[in-house]
């Protein structure tokens, strides 16, 4: 029978594999190919120029700045988001103790759950529009208006938020964490609920308080979810395109004076406004390599033994 199983399986796989090759694999291959050419993007001719584009990348101040900015987000964004999500999930599920009712979340946790998940429902475009108003640089901005009303900020010198080279990356970080934390809170909540209650009850009987319960029981049992979340958040930190383009100054975003350039928006500008698709493809390849390295490194760091329950 074995020889007939193979064509059977192949028959089912044929269509998806063809689609995958056309729409996923071939663009990858083409990008790598074009990254070795001087293709401008608006003609169907190009010259092969070897590794010229990659040499240019290493000498390109703005691209190197963008790599640093991405690294900043890559280090901080996942850590902050995960810690916050873990804290919230713990409080919602097992944080509310102090009486004899057993294991449950803090009072009103079902309401908090909805409130905290809400940002996840919003599309990135809406988030941009929302935070444009929050971080407006004049007195009509939500934050500036509040700070001025409280007398913390001089109405003639409102805070510049995205227009300040010192604040812009932190503001971006804040928006990213705000929009991401709800989803991971739900993810961790679900994982926490699948941890058998007996384990917590045993800890309770042994007199463990919230802290040790979290670090000795919850965290180890959630390790796998956390490592997956870390990889996903890493990808988001490497992207950031829509937020930078919509929220930061200068046409195409990335300002002020390149203080918030990310690889993705430098890539977009290089391709679509400067007409250097070859160079942009080289940036794309670099970004893909970073993403792969990130996944490998993070999965290795977080690899632990799996606990079955």
């Amino acid at each position: 029978m074995k020889f007939r199983r193979l064509p059977f399986i192949a028959g089912f796989l044929f269509v998806p594999v063809v689609l995958y090759v056309i729409y996923v694999v071939s663009p990858f291959v083409q990008t790598v190919f074009y990254s070795f050419t001087d293709w401008g993007g608006f003609s169907n001719t190009q010259n092969f120029i070897g590794v010229g584009n990659y040499v240019r990348l290493l000498q390109d101040d703005i691209f190197l700045k963008a790599v640093l900015h991405n690294a900043f987000l890559l280090v901080l964004m996942p850590v902050v988001t995960i810690l916050l999500a873990l804290f919230l999930a713990f409080m919602l599920n097992v944080g509310g103790r102090g009486d004899s009712a057993g294991i449950r979340g803090v009072r009103g946790s079902s309401v908090y759950k909805v409130v905290l998940f809400f940002p996840q429902v919003l599309s990135v475009a809406i988030i941009v529009v929302l935070f444009q108003s929050v971080f407006r640089t004049d007195g009509r901005g939500l934050l500036n208006g509040l700070l001025i009303a409280l007398g913390l900020v001089d109405p003639n010198k409102p805070v510049q938020w995205f227009n300040s080279p010192d604040l812009v990356l932190w503001c971006l970080l804040g928006v990213m964490v705000w929009s991401g934390v709800g989803f991971y809170m739900v993810l961790f909540s679900a994982a926490m609920q699948s941890i058998p209650k007996e384990i917590y009850e045993a800890a309770l009987l042994d007199g463990a308080s919230r802290g040790p319960t979290f670090f000795r029981i919850t965290l180890p049992l959630l390790w796998e979810n956390i490592s997956v979340a870390w990889v996903y958040l890493g990808f988001i930190a490497l992207d950031g395109f829509a937020l930078v383009t919509g929220l930061t100054p200068d046409s195409g975003g990335g300002g002020p004076d390149h203080a918030s350039e990310l690889i993705s928006n430098v890539l977009y500008r290089t391709a679509f406004t400067q007409g250097k698709f070859g160079l942009a493809c080289a940036m794309g390849v670099a970004l893909a390599v970073f993403s792969l390295l990130l996944a490998i490194v993070q999965l290795r760091i977080t690899r632990r033994d799996r606990i079955e329950f």
Partner: protein, 475 residues
């Protein structure tokens, strides 16, 4: 956002950019999914050449037009397509309007199947320099030499305002027909000025006397779209040209070494910095979008706003009743300015192109010839409250203070016009640095010298980069 129609940054744009990114950077690869080099033929079907059909349009060839859906809207294009269909009833002429010219059309260029006519405008325009670099455009000389639509004895080029072809000319060849005529300057609300008994300043000294009075009345003297520093770059460059004369701007455009290190540049930057340091800017304006700052101006929070003549049309829906938007040329900066009072930057904008690989190239040229007819030009002025490059296009429109003041200022300026290309369309990498430097200047983080160093370095970098095609102009 250097475009004459002042496109608005919209949610849709953002979603599409996000989608474009999903393709571009997600797998960091997809840029090219649609870009496999394809074939494409230049010459399409052709008909018989006759006096009424100078390009030999094939009567049954379809016409494919793509319009930028921006400040001018799309009603005028509908009208022009109607005129074309009347002339060629058998042709299926149709247009599509989009805000994403580059995202939509780049794959079609790459495939060798571009549309026949494109209105290449907006924030997402394909930079003209890039297209010229790729030999992707049709030389428009045959159109200019053809008989005009209304009078066979007059050539098309003789029906246009003076100097309007300069902007679309690259190394001596006209590739872009900039259809709108845009005038730049300072805007003020004449109604407020009348109420407060203020006189619009003609010199920098007058401005400096007036500004403290404006501020004392609780109004900021100046607002600008700091988030997009291009808007503030325009008055800076206007003053450079006005103080230093044409040659300074020509040297800058031709990337002459140290072209930016001249007194005129410094004088202009120092004047702007003086306003910043005197606290004459609307608080927070250095981070505001064009829409936010323009609305603040219309709401009476600021007295002056630098912008192009698309302002009225762009803000029509939210302009308070009774506003009398009026355009003022840049004031004289010194008493020895090289150019007289009234000198303006007036330029043809909204570039229309016929791709070199258009299937119905003759039809594309014919469509532009129709757009330059008196009928189409009058309709454009009426529908958009804007001037077109056709002589006398707005003479019959009188119901707008803005358009009337623009018409008056342009007439008064005569030949005293300013041009600069390197920082508006020739060299995208330089535009980027020029904007960044201007943003820093307006935020008070740059001195005039730092601005000059940064922009000069960007110019030197472009000059030294052999992969960038250079342009040149003598006048």
């Amino acid at each position: 956002m250097p475009n004459s129609s002042g496109s608005e940054f919209t949610r849709r744009q953002l979603i599409q950019r996000a989608a474009a990114l999903a393709v571009l950077a997600g797998p960091a690869a997809g840029v090219l999914s649609a870009c496999a080099g394809g074939g494409g033929s230049a010459a399409g079907p052709s008909g018989t050449v006759s006096p009424t059909n100078p390009f030999g349009v094939a009567e049954d060839a379809p016409l494919d037009v793509v319009i930028f859906d921006g400040g001018f809207g799309q009603d005028y294009a509908k009208y022009d397509i109607g005129l074309y269909s009347k002339a060629f009833p058998k042709s299926q002429a149709a247009f599509k309007a989009t805000q994403k010219i580059s995202d939509t059309l780049q794959p079609r260029f790459a495939n060798g199947t571009p549309p026949d006519v494109i209105d290449d405008s907006g924030d997402n325009q394909i930079k003209a320099g890039t297209l010229v670099n790729s030999n992707a455009l049709t030389d428009l000389q045959p159109l200019l030499d053809a008989a005009s639509y209304d009078d066979p004895k007059v050539k098309v080029k003789d029906t246009l305002l003076p100097g309007v072809l300069d902007v679309g000319t690259y190394n001596g060849k006209v590739y872009l027909l900039n259809y709108g005529y845009t005038v730049y300057g300072l805007w003020y609300n004449a109604k407020v000025f009348k109420e407060k008994n203020w006189t619009p300043p003609k010199t920098w000294a007058e401005f400096k006397t007036l500004a403290p009075q404006i501020k004392a009345a609780g109004i900021a003297p100046w607002a600008h779209a700091g988030k997009y520093p291009y808007y503030m770059g325009v008055p800076i460059m206007d003053w450079v040209g006005k103080v230093g004369g044409d040659q300074v701007l020509i040297d800058i455009d031709n990337l002459k070494p140290n072209a930016w290190r001249v007194d005129a540049v410094k004088a202009s930057l120092n004047a702007v910095l003086e306003m910043v340091h005197n606290g004459w800017m609307l608080p927070g304006t250095e981070g505001m979008t064009h829409i936010e700052s323009q609305q603040a101006f219309l709401d009476g929070k600021a007295a002056f706003l630098p912008c192009g003549s698309w302002l009225e049309n762009e803000m029509r829906k939210t302009t308070p009743a009774g506003t009398e938007m009026t355009l003022l040329p840049m004031p004289d900066l010194t008493d020895k300015d090289a150019k007289p009072y009234g000198t303006l930057r007036a330029e043809a904008g909204e570039p229309f192109i016929v791709p070199a690989k258009a299937k119905n190239q003759a039809g594309g040229l014919e469509f532009l010839r129709i757009m330059l007819s008196k009928d189409a030009a009058r309709n454009f002025a009426q529908a958009t409250s804007s001037l077109s490059i056709v002589k006398g296009s707005a003479d019959s429109v009188t119901n707008s203070t803005a358009l009337t003041s623009v018409n008056k200022a342009a007439t008064a300026a005569g030949d005293n016009l300013l041009h600069y290309r390197s920082v508006t369309d020739w060299y995208p990498t330089m535009i980027n640095e020029w904007e960044a430097a201007t943003g820093e200047l307006m935020a008070g983080r740059f001195t005039a010298d730092q601005w000059i160093d940064k922009v000069q370095a960007a110019a030197d970098k472009v000059a030294a980069d052999s992969s960038i095609q250079k342009f040149h102009r003598d006048k």
